[in-house]
């Protein structure tokens, strides 16, 4: 059987080229790896190497021919001796559709229409578990709640371990891992060198290898050195492997502005990570959510970015004392019911929104406060549901306004809630500057309660 030799492409974008030179002649013996011809484009010259062996039969395109289309049969190769006459005389067959260029993507049947693309089903009707009547309610700090969540999961599952800078002997740079070394030992509470890219990679690899790592970043500002592993290694692998390779890792640590630490230590990465398919992004506010969502994050089969807030670590909240307090990922929480306007917030801004709602109530404005809790997947149903009820919305976010979670919510309301809007959806964010150090400038740059109150009055036409 004679083999057709076809004009090769040097790159996926090449459509034609010059057959510059034949290095083998009709009747020459060819072995795999021999260079048969030279192909040229305006950008490069490339050698055309033989894959099959045999005898070169008829040359169909003479050397020096320009504008030879990729996929054109340029010569015939006889595989066995008896094929030579066939190869010498054979005319090329008609080109097979799909061979040559850009195969298998016929424009007519590409399946590009929206109706044909099945989006994943979203779980509906998932609610926080009911707290049984008579459950004791304790008062704990967010710091303790996070630690207790990790410790409970470490007791439950041998595969869970914590690694990061100062997590073990120092008891945590912010004391979130306090006591874990004593209980679980150095095998499961691992102090790393200051080497974020490296240990984020090791944590991610350990998850690929079947463990359940919790990787602590001293702050998420330093995770920028490791963001390649969070995104390219952790988030994309399940998809790229067709669902074979899971990566159940939790990246956690304080995120966003602390106090007076300046621009490089004060950024909210929520919008960055929330833009990445393949990641779960959680940003809790109070102790109950911190614990319940931490436990859910550790059990989750997907990679999780868990954004805490240093300024909230020390705050105390009520926490139901349950044996296994696990909360659903991807569900917002209504922190305060209201009928006049919705304030959507997450993380530290929830506290500011609740304070604003309290002040607004005194002025006769009844604000609903929604805590997103999870930034990806975003609970847009909860947002739209509340919008339907109040017809007005303000998003409060401690972070920059441009390309923010607030921007995303505005887009969702425009696309899917337009008919319910009585006023423009409004963002209240930090100022669009690197965070300054000076106390007065820092205060000016950050979101605060008065800014939220002002925006709410504006959308209620009460300013």
């Amino acid at each position: 059987m004679a083999i057709e030799l076809k004009m090769p492409a040097l790159s996926p974008t090449m459509e034609e080229g010059t057959l510059a030179k034949w290095l083998k002649q009709e009747g020459d013996e060819i072995v795999a790896g021999d260079i048969i011809a030279e192909i040229e484009t305006d950008k490069a010259t490339m050698e055309f190497e033989a894959v099959d062996e045999g005898t070169l039969g008829k040359i169909l395109v003479a050397e020096g021919t320009e504008n030879v289309a990729v996929g054109t049969v340029i010569a015939m190769l006889a595989g066995e001796v008896e094929d030579i006459s066939e190869a010498a005389s054979a005319a090329p067959k008609d080109d097979v559709p799909g061979e040559g260029k850009d195969v298998g993507r016929p424009e007519s049947s590409g399946g590009g229409s929206e109706a044909e693309i099945a989006k994943p089903a979203k779980k509906t009707g998932v609610k926080d578990p009911e707290i049984p009547h008579g459950t004791n309610i304790a008062t704990v700090t967010v710091r303790e709640a996070l630690r207790d969540g990790m410790a409970e999961e470490m007791r439950r599952d041998e595969r869970v371990f914590v690694m990061g800078e100062e997590v073990a002997q120092y008891q945590g740079a912010y004391k979130v891992t306090q006591g874990l070394l004593d209980e679980f030992g150095p095998k499961r509470v691992i102090d790393t060198p200051i080497t974020e890219y490296g240990f984020a990679g090791i944590g991610t690899g350990a998850a690929m290898g079947g463990l359940r790592p919790i990787v602590e970043f001293m702050t998420f500002n330093f995770a920028m050195q490791a963001i390649d592993h969070i995104i390219n290694s952790a988030a994309k692998t399940n998809y790229m492997s067709g669902g074979q390779m899971r990566c159940p890792v939790v990246f956690r640590g304080p995120n966003a502005a602390a106090s007076r630490v300046g621009a490089q230590h004060s950024q909210n990465y929520g919008p960055w990570y929330a833009s990445v398919p393949g990641l779960i992004v959680i940003a809790p506010y109070d102790a109950s959510d911190a614990k319940g969502l931490m436990k859910a994050a550790i059990r989750c089969e997907d990679p999780v970015v868990f954004l805490e807030n240093e300024l909230v670590y020390g705050r105390s909240f009520e926490l139901p004392e349950l044996d296994d307090h696990v909360l659903p990922i991807g569900k917002a929480r209504t922190m305060r019911e209201g009928s006049d306007v919705t304030i959507v917030a997450y993380s530290i801004a929830v506290g500011l929104a609740l304070e604003a709602a309290k002040q607004l109530a005194e002025e006769g404005i009844d604000a609903e406060v929604i805590d997103l809790r999870t930034l990806r997947p975003l609970d847009k149903e909860a947002v739209l549901e509340s919008l339907k009820k109040t017809n007005r919305m303000v998003i409060a976010e401690e972070g920059w306004p441009t390309c923010s979670i607030a921007s995303e919510i505005v887009a969702i309301c425009m696309e899917e809630g337009f008919d319910h809007l009585d006023a423009p959806v409004t963002r209240v964010c930090d100022e669009d500057v690197p965070l300054p150090y000076a106390a007065n400038l820092e205060k000016l740059a950050l979101i605060d309660t008065p800014k939220i109150v002002k925006a709410v009055k504006k959308v209620c036409y009460r300013d």
């Binding site: 076809k6 790159s11 590009g112 060198p193 592993h229 692998t237 990922i329």
Partner: protein, 356 residues
């Protein structure tokens, strides 16, 4: 099999008085070639030839537009993957590499059909057509990719090794990377932690002389890559990566060291890729004579063929192997060309494992 030791401050590498950086190389120098049986050599020959023919075919399919994007061929480097992987314990040890990954997968015995079908972006591909040439995985074979970011596989490999140590399963991780990746910072971050924690990992630098188009002497202050672990007290080995028996012998020594719980090894395999960095590289940074010289005098397949014939195999035996492999590769190519593309409904699957 040796259990991995527990980490403790008292046993940190810096406190080890018996540290000997050159011990492995010295042992290797005593006898560099693995004493293989004829069956073993034939098996190496078969595997290397399978990689060679598969890659040639992949190059051809790329030229025909059936394979898109980037396609990095392993031609010339076959002895490295075959020599090392033949020494692994199947089902126990893990392997991770970069984007030039077809050869490592074939050396693992993964079906050429599903690899080729991934290259052509078909549903039957090992990643359902969603990964492509650079992103292929087989958890069944403990092959963890297939990573497109230069050097990322080194830190990820450190994590796989940590999992072996944590589970005390006696396994090790083989992490391959190139001379180009050897200049990435995370490689040294990983060296440090691997040595500090005595992780069971063999770092293999496949030095094919060019980081894309940049010769090692133009990119690297220290071109003796096996020395690059010195600062971390990681013993180095320098191996002729064009001789499968030398690679296999080096693997025996390195794996023994690692399995005894003595921490990582850095192995440099000097090799050469005949083709460009990727299919779209015209390779103008080196002469045709240089490539031709390597092909004629140091080719790993021709080299082993010579040894096989010296030891009594006949030309006909080897021709028969070649014929069988051509058939396997042809079938893989046909399968890859004729399999359907992924269904549009696959667009949104596998983004997340769970539903929320």
């Amino acid at each position: 099999m040796a259990k991995a030791p527990k980490k403790s401050a008292a046993r940190s590498p810096a406190e080890n008085p018996e540290f000997a950086l050159h011990s492995l190389q010295e042992e290797f120098e005593k006898n560099k070639r693995f004493d293989a049986s004829t069956e073993q050599m034939q098996s190496f020959y078969e595997q290397m030839l399978l990689i060679r023919r598969f890659e040639e075919r992949a190059g051809q399919l790329y030229g025909l537009g059936l394979i898109g994007g980037f396609c990095h061929l392993y031609i010339g480097q076959e002895a490295v993957a075959v020599g090392l992987q033949s020494a692994l314990s199947e089902g126990l040890d893990s392997v991770i590499t970069g984007y030039r990954d077809h050869g490592h997968m074939l050396a693992y015995g993964i079906d050429p059909k599903v690899i080729m079908a991934e290259l052509t972006g078909r549903e039957a591909g090992i990643s359902k057509g969603k990964g492509g040439s650079m992103h292929m995985f087989s958890t069944e074979h403990k092959f963890y990719g297939g990573h497109g970011i230069v050097g990322a596989q080194v830190a990820l490999g450190g994590g796989l090794a940590l999992a072996h140590q944590y589970n005390e399963d006696g396994g090790l991780c083989l992490a391959y990377f190139g001379d180009g990746a050897a200049n990435q910072g995370q490689v040294y971050e990983t060296f440090n932690m691997a040595a500090l924690w005595k992780l069971p990992i063999v770092f293999v630098i496949e030095n094919n002389q060019y980081a894309m188009g940049t010769a090692v002497s133009r990119s690297s202050a220290e071109t003796e890559f096996y020395r690059r672990g010195t600062a971390f007290r990681i013993p180095g080995m320098k191996v002729n990566g064009m001789d499968v028996l030398e690679v296999r012998q080096a693997a025996e020594i390195a794996f023994k060291h690692v399995r005894e719980g003595r921490g990582p090894v850095l192995m440099e395999c000097e090799t050469y890729r005949y083709r460009g960095h990727s299919m779209s590289d015209p390779a103008k940074y080196r002469t045709r004579e240089e490539v031709q010289d390597m092909r004629e005098h140091r080719d790993p397949i021709e080299g082993l063929k010579k040894t096989l014939i010296e030891q009594g195999s006949s030309e006909d035996d080897l021709k028969a192997i070649d014929k069988d492999i051509r058939k396997v590769v042809s079938e893989a190519a046909d399968f890859a060309e004729n399999s359907p593309e992924p269904d549009p409904s696959e667009l949104y699957t596998d983004v997340l494992v769970e539903e929320y």
